[in-house]
Amino acid sequence: MKTKFLASVGVIAVAAAALTGCAASAETSNSTEASCTNKIVNANAPQVSVWAWYPAFEEVVDLFNNSHDDVQVCWTNAGQGNDEYTKFSTSIESKSGAPDVIQLESEVLSSFSIRNALVDLTEFGANDVKDKYTEGSWKDASSGDAVYAIPVDGGPMGMLYRKDLFEAAGIAVPTTWAEFETAAAALKTSGSDGVLVNFPTNGRAFNQALFAQAGSVPFVYDSTSPTDIGIDVNDQGAKDVLDYWNSLVQDGLVTTDDAFTADYNTSLVDGTYAVYLAAAWGPGYLQGLSDADENAVWAVAPLPQWDAANPVQVNWGGSTFAVTSQATDKALAAQVAIEIFGTDEAWKVGVEKGALFPSYTPMLDSDYFVNLEYPFFGGQQINKEVFLNAAAGYTGATFSPFQNYAYDQLTEELYSMVQGEQDGSQALDDLQASLETYATEQGFTVAK
C-alpha cells in the first residue's frame, strides 16, 4: 500500500515536472525569435523588443535588422491605441511583460511617465537628434527638460472633401468656419441625402484639436513637478467652438455619429459626409476603407479658420517611440527608438506604404516629400498645398497624466450636449468640475 502510494506521488511529480519543463522551455524560446513577427537576421546580436502598430512596419524593421550587426529588433503588434495601452498598463502594474521600446501616441506619454514607466531619453543622446524633428512634435514628446519619446509621425490637420459633391451642390470650398456653416446649410438646401460633416461625440483628440484652434490650452503639466497640474478646459475659446458645433447639430446640418464604427467608416467613403476633417494620416485611413463610392473625387484644403488673417494650425494624433523602464538594456533600446525611423529609406516605406506623415525633418523637407503627388487625390500635392504648412504652424500641446479619463468625460458631456440636455458652455463647465475633482482625488495640486 505504502509503496503504491509513493509510486503514484512519484508519477504525479514526474508529470508535474514535465509540465513545468514544457512551460519553461516555451518561455526561453519566447524571449528569442519565436515571438517576433519579423525575421531576425543576425541571431547573435542582442535583441530589443518593440511593440508597434504602424502599417507596413515589417519592412521598416527588416531595413533596420539588415543594416545592424550590433542589435536586432524583435517586433510584436500588440494592438492599436488603447488596446496596446491596456496591455502596457497591466505589465507596468505586474512589473514584467513590457517591451523594451513601445509605440505611444504623444497624448498618453504623461499618463505613463507619471507611473515611472518610461525612461528619460536625454541621458541616451535624445537631444543630439532634436534638430531632426519638428518643433511641435518634439514638444509633444517632452515634458520640461525630460524627453520621454522620439517622435515618429504627426497629425497636422486639414480638410478632406468630396470635390464632386461640392460641385454638384454648387458649394465653394470654405476657408473660415463661418463659410463652413453656410456651406453646411447650402448642402442641405441642395437636397443632398448626406450632410457636410459629422461631429462625433467620441472624437476625443479630434474634439480637443478643434478647441485648440480657438486658443484653448486645457492642461499645464510638467514632469519636473509631477504633483502640480493646471486644468482649464472651459475657457471662452473652447466654449465658442462648442456652441458653434452645437448650433450646427441642433439645426440638423451635421450628424453626430460615433467615430470609428463600421457605420461611420462607410459614411466616410460613400458620400454621406461630404467633408472629412482629418489629420495627415487621414488619407491613409480613408484609402483603407471598403465600400467606397467608385466615382468619388477627393481633394484636400486647409482646415477652416476662425480668423482668416491669423490662421491657427492644430494637430490630431501622431505617435512616438518610448523606452520603457522595464527595458533590460536602456541604452540599446534608446538607440533603436532613435534609429529605427531615422533614415530616408525607412521613411520612404513609412510614407508610401504606411501613409504616415513624418515628424522627421530630413524627410519632411526633402523635395521628394514636398512634391509627392497622391493618386488618390487626383495627383494633388497635398503635402505642399496643405499639410506641410499645417505642420510648420503647430507649436505643440500639453496633455494631462489622466488623459484617458479626461477624454471619457469629454465624450459623456458632448453626448449629453448633442442630446439637447445642456449647452456647450454647461458641458465644459461640468467637465472642468469633474476633472478638478478627479485630479484632487488623485493627489494633484490643482491650479486653474
Binding site: 502594474e93 507611473r115 489622466f402 471619457d408
Partner: protein
C-alpha cells in the same frame, strides 16, 4: 448539474444504518490512509483551484486594502476603499441600473423559457425536437460574438430595421440611442439565455412522473390547469435555480454592454454597470486598487442578494 438537481431526492432509508463502530485506533489508521488517497485525488483540482481562484482572490483583496493615486503613490488604508465604494455615486448608479435590469430582464427570460418548455413538453413531434434545438442555439454562440452580431443588426445602416420599417412607410427607431439602449440590451440577453433556461426547465418537466398528469386529468383538469397548477409548482426548485443563475449573471452584467459600447459610446458610458466601472478603473485609469475594492463590493452585493433570495424562496427551492 441541472438534471441532478432537478431529480427527486431519494428519501432517507432507515434500513441502511451505519455499520457498527470499530475500535478507535483502527478507525484512525483507516481514515488517515483514506484521507491520504483522498487528498491525492483532489490534488489536481485543488492546485488549479488555489492557483487560479483562491490566490488571485486573496491578492485582489489585499490590493483592495491599499490606496494608490497617480500623484502620491500607494499606502495601506484598511477599508477606506470600501467606504468610498459604497458612497461612490457612479458605483451606486451602476448598481441601480443592474437592479432595474434584473427587474425587467429576469422575468422576461424566465417567461420565455417557461412558456417554451411547457409547450415543448406537451409535444412529441420531430418539429418539437427541432424547435428545442433552435431555441437553445443562441446559447451556443459565444456572448461576445452574439453581442457583435446584434450590434450590426441594430445598426441603422447594416441592420434590417430600416428596410422592414420602410416597407410600411415608417422610420426605424435608433436602437443604440440613450432611450432605447436598455431595451436593446434586454433583448440581446433574453435571446441568448432564454434557451439555456428553457433546457433546465424542460429537463425538470421530463423528470415529473406522468402518472400525476393522468390523475389530474381524471380529476377533470384541462391542459392549462395541468400546466399551471401541477407542472409549475412541481418544478419550482428548478425555477428558483434558474432565477439565481439569472440574478447573479445580471448583477455581474458586463460583456454585452461592453461590446455594444464600441458602437454606442454616448449611450453606454464607461461606468454603465459596476463590472464595467471596475474594468475601466483598472485598465483605462490604472486604479487597480480601487477597482479591486469595487469588484469586492460588487461581490458582497451579489452574495448578499443571492443569500437573501435563497432565504426568501427556501420553501419553493426545497432548501428547507
Amino acid at each position: 448539474m441541472a438534471l441532478t438537481e432537478a431529480a427527486p431526492k431519494p428519501a432517507p432509508n432507515p434500513a441502511v444504518a451505519r455499520p457498527a463502530r470499530r475500535p478507535r485506533t483502527q478507525i484512525d489508521r483507516m481514515d488517515r490512509k483514506r484521507q491520504r488517497w483522498g487528498w491525492l485525488f483532489v490534488a489536481p483540482f485543488a492546485i488549479v483551484f488555489v492557483t487560479f481562484l483562491v490566490a488571485p482572490l486573496g491578492y485582489a483583496f489585499w490590493m483592495s486594502m491599499q490606496t494608490s493615486t497617480l500623484a502620491t503613490g500607494t499606502s495601506f488604508t484598511w477599508f477606506a476603499n470600501y467606504g468610498k465604494a459604497f458612497t461612490d455615486p457612479i458605483f451606486l448608479e451602476g448598481l441601480g441600473r443592474v437592479a432595474s435590469f434584473a427587474l425587467i430582464m429576469i422575468p422576461a427570460q424566465m417567461l420565455v423559457a417557461l412558456v417554451a418548455a411547457l409547450v415543448l413538453d406537451n409535444l412529441s413531434t420531430a418539429l418539437s425536437k427541432f424547435s428545442r434545438l433552435m431555441i437553445f442555439v443562441p446559447y451556443a454562440i459565444p456572448v461576445v460574438i452574439g453581442a457583435l452580431m446584434w450590434g450590426f443588426l441594430y445598426s441603422p445602416r447594416f441592420g434590417p430595421a430600416t428596410d422592414i420599417f420602410g416597407l410600411v412607410g415608417l422610420t426605424a427607431p435608433d436602437f443604440l440611442s440613450q432611450g432605447t439602449i436598455f431595451a436593446s440590451l434586454v433583448n440581446i440577453v433574453t435571446w441568448q439565455w432564454a434557451g439555456y433556461y428553457m433546457i433546465i426547465i424542460y429537463a425538470a418537466l421530463r423528470g415529473i412522473d406522468p402518472a400525476i398528469y393522468e390523475a389530474a386529468r381524471l380529476d377533470g383538469a384541462n391542459g392549462r390547469q395541468i400546466a399551471l397548477r401541477v407542472k409549475v409548482p412541481m418544478i419550482s426548485s428548478s425555477m428558483v435555480m434558474v432565477l439565481i443563475f439569472a440574478l447573479i449573471g445580471t448583477l455581474q452584467f458586463f460583456t454585452e454592454p461592453q461590446v455594444l459600447r464600441a458602437v454606442a459610446q454616448g449611450a453606454i458610458p464607461v461606468s454603465y454597470t459596476p463590472n464595467m466601472y471596475a474594468y475601466s478603473l483598472a485598465f483605462s485609469y490604472s486604479q487597480f486598487n480601487y477597482a479591486s475594492a469595487i469588484s469586492f463590493a460588487l461581490g458582497i452585493v451579489v452574495f448578499a442578494g443571492s443569500y437573501l433570495f435563497l432565504f426568501l424562496t427556501r420553501k419553493q427551492s426545497g432548501l428547507k
